[in-house]
Amino acid sequence: MPATRSVFSPTRGHENRETFMKPNARWVILLVGAVICGRAGAAEETDVSGKLLLLAAASTSEAVDEIRAAFVRLHPGVTVRTSYGASSTLAQQINVGAEADLFLSASSEWADFLSKKDLVQQRRDLLSNQLVIVVPADATVAIQGPKDLSQAAIRRLALADPSSVPAGKYAKQALTALGLWSQLERKVAGAADVRQALRFVETGAADAGIVYATDAAASRAVRVAAKIDPKLSQPIRYPLVLVKRGVERPAAVALYEFFSSPEAGAVFRRHGFVVLPPPDPTQP
């Protein structure tokens, strides 16, 4: 439960934005704070500035919001706007010419799509995730591993749609590798995305589900019954893309690099992500 969505919240970057609200005490405090930060930033001559647009997969929104706020605290001259949605939609928007600077995709597929269109200036695999089997928090069924999903007590298994959503694809690959897919297929309830699959389990509409560890961590109504061996599916990757725009954008590069910083890594880890080491230059 995010308790920090109030006006006070230091994690949101609204203080530089014009709003229609009448100024009250909170705003005065925030504005004074912003002015002081702005002065401090102006003192550093080398600091970057500008207005950036970051497109990120919806499943990363909580962590990215925090990282954005941390970045803006370091670089008060930069305004970072975010737009969260399905990776496929975001990639299409960049493809048709949206003025985006960075793209954090929930699968390699959409970063590859942009690479093919020659819209990638730089990219790296930033994060990974872990698939887990979740059951309602009060469930009594015993599940030690994927094999236990075939028992009769599990009537519905919630997955993200295995035909289009990455999380569902990975789950199907793992179940197929274990030789379980053909018997489990009939029980599968395909959801539009992982969060919806999670809702199915939370509400008891499904007796179990396979979701990311990050989603399971965000819910108190489910518990993790077992982990899925990552070797059973293709690697789960979240590539970060610096979009090619044909102009020098030091602020965009700074934000791109900030995502690899220990500070950003700590935020991602706190939200349950696996942070991948920076690429090894000795390897091709």
């Binding site: 439960m1 995010p2 969505r5 109030s6 006006v7 919240s9 949101r12 609204h14 934005r17 709003t19 229609f20 609200m21 647009l53 497109l55 919806a58 499943s59 929104s61 909580e62 706007r81 975010t82 737009s83 969260y84 949605g85 939609t89 975001l90 299409q92 928007q93 048709v96 010419g97 949206a98 003025e99 985006a100 969060r195 965000a218 819910s219």
Partner: protein, 229 residues
């Protein structure tokens, strides 16, 4: 509404801005189309009707995708808009307004067409026999008589625009304070798992939608009572 966050206020204000703009953009063509469909008698009318009503039944995501492709800054139409008028639709609030206008257009036309159909064409003929031109007769006789129906169409389209999600997220994205309307804010809050936040926004949505429906119902009733007197 004591405890709305800044983000929620921004979404609420933006929703009104986008919906109002959507209604203003589609009002002139909707009046023309409603009148045309009410008066025009032709074997080919069905084709026009299908075209007008298409956004009503198409998945909004499809409408959004078509708009995104058509108005892409790199595309011919989007490039023209930008170089001639300096207007950009992709990832801007105006894009959200255009998406909402397209999706709500059929509802607006429908209400206006019903209102125009109910007005006796002989009234117009009388005006014209007294020397008024076609356009003049429409403006001074038909349109004033149909005003409640026209207004009902506007309110209905406004309500539909407030709820637009699928086409909006495709064209305009989901940027706080710029394109994040109430439905998009709900989407984002649900993704964060913020239940209290989701419920507040859901409550606002229900109240606004119900108010728009009641208002259009009342206006339509006023229109039909005017016709019967």
């Amino acid at each position: 509404m004591p405890s709305l966050t800044v983000e929620e206020w921004l979404a609420l204000r933006l929703s009104f801005q986008v919906s109002l703009c959507a209604v203003l953009v589609s009002l002139p063509p909707a009046i023309a189309m409603g009148y045309l469909l009410a008066r025009w008698q032709s074997g080919h009318k069905w084709l026009l009707e299908v075209l007008v009503n298409l956004p009503l039944v198409l998945p909004p995501v499809v409408t959004g995708y078509l708009l995104l492709v058509c108005f892409a800054p790199r595309g011919p139409l989007g490039g023209m808009l930008e170089s001639w008028f300096g207007v950009r639709l992709v990832l801007t609030w105006f894009g959200a307004a255009v998406a909402a206008a397209v999706v709500s257009f059929p509802l607006m036309v429908r209400a206006m067409r019903v209102a125009f159909q109910a007005i006796d064409p002989r009234l117009e003929m009388a005006a014209r026999s007294l020397g008024a031109g076609r356009f003049d007769a429409f403006l001074s006789v038909t349109l004033p008589l149909a005003r409640s129906g026209v207004l009902a169409g506007c309110v209905l389209a406004f309500g539909r625009s407030l709820g637009e999600f699928g086409a909006t997220i495709m064209v305009a994205g989901n940027i706080i304070g710029e394109t994040q309307t109430i439905p998009l804010a709900i989407f984002s809050a649900a993704n964060r798992g913020g239940d209290a936040e989701v419920w507040r926004l859901v409550a606002i949505s229900i109240v606004l939608a119900a108010a728009a429906l009641l208002a259009s119902e009342w206006l339509e009733r006023r229109q039909s009572s005017r016709e019967s007197t």
